[in-house]
């Protein structure tokens, strides 16, 4: 390896560099001082007297202070290196063309924004297979979609169009954008910024959407808390997400949400922002939303599609929630591609029955924002509330869970209210019973009933299209969304991959190891079948499969039958450990007939052709089922009764209060 002369050869010591370095640097041309204008005036006396101040060459310096020229050169070079500001160059890059350098506006590299460790860890979690990422980008499935960009486009194209409708109040796109911009500026003033996780626990109010858009505008990450969440969930989810702030109500129906958040001992949580009555220690939401320092005025950089902006906790049936990060590529690309498939346009009025804390509701909002439609808000679901909101707001597209529709059907609300404005109803969140879908279809003849299958991890993975007809829509979840692929494994599990798929659970390698196949497909945990039109029907959950002495069966058909039993409101069959057979079926039921018993139910099932081996062997009556926000039963939270240690267990009934 080639090398230059060593210090030992030149005769320069570290002590010499330290001793003479400053002197040599100052004597060199690095610093020049000219007093007067002696050369132009040909004032040779002044020239001679002030020559040194104009800077000296290495040879001149060497002569002056008694070092060799090479020693001066070496020491000068070392000093230039020590003092060198590598980042000075940065100052030039946005200058010129009318822009002038302003010292007060310049931020040195070392003082510039950097993602804190937690935010960077979340960004690290956004890891995608490079081949897939390239494919998605090449196909246009991943593009430059951002909520901020979509909102700005709507402001430009339809500033006066309704963006949010709530009660009698209509907020147009330009008003929405202005409030979002101010809130983003206010959040910035609280010290929140790109990469920070901000939790939101609000009903479906306009300020939920304002908060969401403002968080996205900052480049921050929203995590959601469901309205039923209380202190334990607050602590678990805010802690796991490393949330820096939470936006919540002062009083959530008797639950002091803001005070609960304030009382938490979480070192990352910096602020609690509250809507409603003032809470000491909390920041009033309205103060932030009414501030003068908007994000645009502050010049806050806009987020990009690759930035994570959502961290959602699974609402699945497992007891321990898992954190699902999404960026705009996965999340918004799916909505952009889905809008045309669902036949949505700027003329639509879109209503979500589930809360925005749930992905399905956010999906409806994403679709609305992409096409520039209006979002009709229902703060909290009640069957009459949903029906009257459809009627009053002339909703054209409804996103609802089967349980929402079932409740409306049960109460005859589609007969009592004019819901004829609906042209599309997308049902998702849990299995859609065939007869329920047909019943809705009969009540809403001009409305396309479509099933959608999705998970927090996949967003809209499969769905029917408006032209599919009720036969397909009642029995299947349709076909993969653009950018999505689906397959059914040998054991019947639906597996998916595609541009909408999350990259993996945040900070949960064990969950990730279980969630993906070796070739990168996501294990949905759902059982599925394929019809001859390539439509996929969801037939159950793998975890729900009962393995009774080696005989495996899906309890879904039994649950469907039981749900139609006149004495049963809702049922769930779960496997119950058994020393002899491995598993037996335990039926949990919410009964409308207090005299219902296991024998009666089994006779009913036998009468419908169910094999004896599939009959439930325990019955547990419960007052209500634990439900997700989309009203799906959380089977993992159903407490199994004590096992009966018998070769042939007596059919047993247990009543839980």
């Amino acid at each position: 390896m080639a090398r230059g002369l060593s210090r030992q050869q030149i005769g320069v010591t570290v002590a010499m560099i330290d001793s003479y370095g400053d002197l040599i640097f100052q004597m060199s041309h690095n610093h020049q001082i000219r007093r007067g204008d002696p050369i132009r005036e040909m004032d040779f006396t002044a020239i001679e007297a002030r020559r040194d101040e104009l800077g000296m060459s290495d040879g001149q310096i060497a002569e002056r202070i008694g070092l060799s020229e090479m020693q001066v050169m070496y020491i000068r070079t070392m000093m230039e290196r020590r003092r060198f500001h590598t980042n000075y160059f940065q100052r030039l890059l946005d200058l010129g063309g009318g822009k002038r350098f302003r010292q007060e506006r310049f931020t040195a590299h070392e003082d510039r924004f950097q993602y804190h460790d937690d935010a960077f860890a979340l960004r690290e979690a956004m890891t995608f297979d490079p081949g897939r990422a390239r494919h998605y980008a090449e196909q246009g499935w991943w593009a430059d979609d951002t909520l901020s960009g979509w909102l700005a486009r709507n402001v430009a194209e339809r500033p006066d169009a309704p963006a949010v409708i709530f009660d009698e109040v209509v907020m147009d796109y330009i008003s929405l954008a202005a409030r979002v911009d101010r809130l983003a500026g206010g959040l910035h003033g609280l010290g929140l910024g790109a990469g920070d996780v901000i939790a939101v626990q609000l009903p479906n109010l306009p300020d939920y959407l304002v908060s969401y858009l403002a968080i996205a505008r900052l480049g921050a990450v929203m995590t959601t808390l469901y309205m039923p969440h209380r202190a334990r969930e607050f602590e678990t989810l805010l802690g796991h997400s490393r949330a820096r702030s939470v936006i919540c109500l002062s009083d959530a129906g008797g639950f002091p949400a803001a005070q609960t958040a304030l009382d938490l001992d979480l070192d990352k949580l910096q602020s609690v922002i509250t809507i409603g009555a003032a809470v000491p220690g909390a920041v009033p939401f309205e103060d932030l939303a009414a501030g003068a320092a908007s994000a645009d005025k502050l010049g806050l950089p806009r987020p990009v599609a690759a930035d994570p902006f959502l961290l959602l906790y699974t609402s699945g049936t497992t007891a321990s929630p898992k954190a699902v990060p999404h960026n705009s590529h996965t999340m918004l690309g799916n909505a952009r591609l889905g809008a045309a498939e669902h036949g949505l346009s700027a003329d639509d009025v879109i209503l979500s029955a589930p809360p925005f804390g749930h992905l399905f509701a956010l999906y409806s909002f994403h679709l609305a924002l992409y096409v520039g439609a209006a979002n009709l808000l229902l703060p909290a679901f009640t069957p009459p509330g949903l029906a009257s909101t459809i009627e009053a707001g002339r909703a054209t597209a409804l996103f609802a869970a089967p349980a929402h529709m079932a409740a409306c059907l049960d109460m005859g609300l589609f007969d009592k209210h004019d819901c004829s404005s609906l042209t599309l109803a997308i049902l998702s969140g849990s299995a859609v019973p065939d007869d329920m879908a047909r019943a809705v279809d009969s009540k809403l003849p001009d409305c396309a009933i479509n099933q959608l299958w999705g998970m927090t991890e996949t967003q809209g993975g499969l769905y029917c299209r408006p032209g599919d007809g009720i036969e397909t829509a009642a029995t299947t979840a349709g076909r993969p969304a653009p950018g999505a692929e689906a397959r059914i494994s040998d054991d019947g599990e639906l597996q998916v991959r595609g541009s909408m798929l999350f990259p993996g659970y945040f900070d949960n390698p064990a969950a990730n190891a279980a969630a993906f196949t070796e070739d990168g497909w996501f294990r949905s945990g759902d059982l599925a079948s394929l019809d001859d039109q390539d439509n996929i029907a969801i037939t159950g959950r793998i975890k729900d499969i009962i393995n009774r002495g080696g005989v495996k069966y899906n309890p879904r058909e039994i649950e469907d039958l039981l749900d139609n039993h006149p004495g049963v409101v809702q049922s769930a069959i779960v496997p119950m450990p058994d020393k002899v057979l491995g598993e037996r079926a335990c039926c949990f039921a919410v009964a409308s007939d207090p005299d219902i018993d296991l024998d009666g139910l089994c006779q009913y099932l036998l009468g419908h052709g169910i094999a004896k081996t599939k009959l439930p062997e325990r019955l547990v009556l419960v007052a209500e089922m634990p439900l997700t926000p989309t009203r799906k039963i959380i089977k993992g939270r159903l407490s199994l009764p004590e096992p009966i240690h018998s070769q042939d267990p007596k059919r047993d009934e247990t009543k839980n209060a």
């Binding site: 020239i47 000296m56 100052r91 946005d94 010129g96 350098f101």
Partner: protein, 301 residues
């Protein structure tokens, strides 16, 4: 080839000046070689390059078009193509002198004498131009300015032909009245205020003339020339504790640009940033500062 004593020095000077002007020079002057020999330090005097030099001819060419001042700095960094203008004329002038007067002449090499210090040139073209009377030192780091042509690039021709020297400018156009006014108001001139690295400072006296000019060339060069960046970046990379830090040091956006400039020899931002001249009223608004103004002046004349 030897010196030709039969040449009419007056006619020759005019012919050389005419040649340079015809080829595109805006200003031409002859510097007093004796003065240069006295002012320039040893090793950098005209005779160090050409022992029998009798005359140093300095030419100035137009600095920028009017449009150039409106482009971004990072694009304007490519605009200093002096080689294709001033040096070409000077090179041609040397051939012209030898061809017509049979007297040795050279185009003065504009390059740095890298053995002598930071950015020490073999010859100071600035000194030649100043003594020849076609530019005067400004508060903007001693960049030469001309009251009519504003900001120019310079080149020099040395010859053994003896020509009558011109005198330095009687007045220095810098600072312009508006700059004096600004200095009186805020204590800084435009070039001092808007320098991206604040490398300029100084004072104006009560008569509105330059009293002191301070130029932090280290800061200026660190921004626009980045000569020291390569060893600094390499040293940082070598000292990095892990692969990621090493990659950050070598391949962050700034340094990526550095490697590009090094590998392909891009001239962009390897010489000047122009911000001090962009805000200089002499550089940008002198009567003949750009082709548009010159054409207008010509038509009015």
């Amino acid at each position: 080839m030897t010196g030709n004593n039969s040449v009419d020095a007056k006619e020759a000077k005019q012919a050389i000046l005419d040649y340079c002007l015809r080829k595109g020079a805006l200003a031409v002057g002859v510097a007093d070689v004796d003065a240069l020999e006295r002012i320039a330090p040893a090793g950098h005097r005209p005779s160090d390059i050409m022992p029998k030099v009798k005359s140093v001819i300095s030419i100035g060419v137009g600095g920028q078009t009017q449009g150039a001042w409106s482009v971004p700095a990072k694009a304007m960094g490519y605009f200093g193509s002096t080689e294709s203008r001033a040096y070409t004329i000077a090179y041609g002038a040397a051939f012209f002198i030898e061809g017509r007067y049979q007297t040795p002449a050279i185009y003065c090499p504009p390059d740095m004498d890298n053995e002598k210090g930071p950015r020490v040139p073999l010859q100071s073209l600035k000194l030649h131009a100043e003594v020849a009377g076609i530019g005067a030192r400004s508060l903007a780091g001693d960049i030469l300015l001309h009251p009519d042509f504003g900001y120019m690039y310079f080149a020099s021709i040395f010859t053994e032909l003896a020509l009558a020297p011109d005198q330095p400018m009687a007045e220095n156009p810098c600072p312009a009245p508006s700059c004096v006014s600004m200095y009186r108001s805020i204590g800084r001139t435009p070039c001092q205020k808007f320098c991206p690295v604040q490398c300029l400072s100084g004072h104006i006296d009560e008569d509105g003339r330059q009293a002191e000019m301070h130029y932090d060339m280290a800061a200026c060069a660190e921004m626009s020339q980045q000569y020291e960046a390569v060893p600094a970046v390499l040293a940082k990379a070598m000292a990095a504790e892990d692969t990621q830090s090493r990659e950050d040091a070598l391949f962050d956006p700034d340094n990526k640009m550095l490697w590009y400039k090094m590998s392909v020899g891009s001239g962009g931002l390897l010489a000047q940033c122009f911000e001090c001249m962009r805000v200089c009223p002499i550089a940008t608004q002198s009567p003949l500062a750009d082709p548009i103004r010159r054409a207008k002046a010509k038509s009015e004349a």
